[in-house]
């Protein structure tokens, strides 16, 4: 929500609205705001909605709401692909992950990002890699010449038949 004065409640990881700070519609371009969000995040947020909500008492002023509905679990985590510091966009390879804690957005530290990747590897990628390895093994076995795939017992008897007569 944009258009309120608020104060942080650090113990509760949320902000508390303590007044209105309505502004004119011309101050904010909702389409541009939605575009900025889309170009600064990856993957695309499904159902993103940025709306101008005029005041009932004075429709020339109002607030803006940015609505992010719950996202599919398999789409998470969402990456912040561009970062601005002192209102200046940072160049280079800059990617961040923010997590939602109540009303707060807490960027993950590099260690937390690393651990999240490792956890993902353990639960998904590692399994996929093990499956790939097993497939490789099966495919490798399939390349063993046909005679080697025959019944080993029959092969053994065949090979011993000569030795039994020596």
């Amino acid at each position: 929500l944009i258009g309120f004065t608020h104060e942080k409640l650090p113990e509760e990881r949320t902000d508390q609205i303590n007044g209105l700070e309505l502004f004119e519609r011309t101050k904010v371009n909702t389409s541009q705001l939605a575009g900025v969000i889309k170009t600064h995040t990856y993957p695309q947020i499904q159902g993103l909605s940025v709306k101008w909500l005029p005041s009932a008492a004075d429709p020339s002023v109002g607030i803006v709401s940015v609505y992010v509905p719950p996202q599919a679990h398999q789409a998470k985590l969402f990456l912040i692909t561009r970062v601005a510091e002192e209102e200046e966009a940072q160049r280079g390879i800059v990617v961040g992950i923010a997590r939602r804690l109540q009303s707060d957005n807490i960027p993950l530290t590099s260690r937390e990002i690393y651990e999240a990747i490792q956890n993902g590897r353990d639960s998904v990628l590692s399994r996929a890699m093990r499956i790939e390895e097993k497939l490789d093994t099966l495919l490798g076995r399939a390349t063993i010449p046909a005679p080697l795939m025959q019944d080993q017992k029959a092969i053994l008897d065949s090979r011993l038949s000569e030795l039994r007569l020596l």
Partner: protein
């Protein structure tokens, strides 16, 4: 009539392949050429004066009628040792082997154990991972003239245990990991089956140790034999 012989085989399951079997320098070739020995002048697989040869484009072979080793490309290892007075039978110190075909217990146990230890080295050259190993033990032509082979588990014991069939065979399986983790235990599995051909219980098999269900070949005791 062919002489009696002991045949032992190991086969990987599922099928496998020996890496560079027919490269006659280094690798598994050297392992077959030098199976090693537990002691000097023992009943091992060492074949002096011979080198492995490629046979029929199918396997490596070393040795001959008395002692033979074959390693196939699919990982099957076969050995054959004659049971006569020159190898796995008692030498004719006080009796002619032809009249008294007595199997030498230590010879059979040491020969079998050497086979297991050799295979543990061979599997290092397999292309695929290992699952189980099928083993096969067999005595062929177990009769000399009119008498079946017999064994006296203790050399000073007069009680001989006679073979019950002329051509007894047994097939078994063990986990491949046991080959490297507990080779003496695997060796016992094979040795036990051979002695069971003669109806000798495990507790009476010499050069073995451990409680029932956990017996293994006592390699240290074999190495102490002079």
């Amino acid at each position: 009539m062919p002489s009696p012989a002991l045949i032992l085989t190991m086969t990987p399951r599922p099928a496998n392949r020996v890496r560079n079997l027919f490269e006659l320098n280094g690798g598994v070739h050297d392992v077959v050429a030098n199976p090693g020995a537990f002691r000097g002048y023992g009943w091992d697989l060492q074949i002096i004066g011979d080198r492995p040869k490629i046979r029929h484009g199918e396997y490596l072979e070393i040795g001959g009628n008395r002692k033979l080793l074959r390693l196939y490309e699919d990982g099957m290892l076969i050995t054959r040792g004659l049971i006569d007075d020159n190898f796995l039978g008692w030498a004719p110190l006080d009796a002619d082997f032809e009249e008294n075909p007595r199997v030498h217990p230590l010879a059979v146990i040491e020969f079998t154990t050497a086979f297991v230890y050799l295979y543990a080295r061979v599997v290092q050259f397999f292309e695929q991972g290992l699952g189980d190993i099928d083993f096969h033990v067999e005595i062929v032509n177990g009769r000399v003239r009119k008498r079946l082979l017999y064994v006296t588990p203790r050399w000073d014991s007069g009680d001989g245990h006679t073979l019950e069939q002329v051509n007894p065979r047994y097939d078994g399986t063990f986990p491949a990991a046991q080959l490297t983790d507990e080779p003496d235990r695997v060796a016992y599995e094979l040795v036990q089956r051979i002695f069971l051909f003669f109806s000798v219980p495990g507790t009476q098999i010499p050069y073995t140790t451990g409680a029932d269900g956990h017996r293994k070949v006592d390699l240290a005791a074999i190495k102490r034999v002079s």
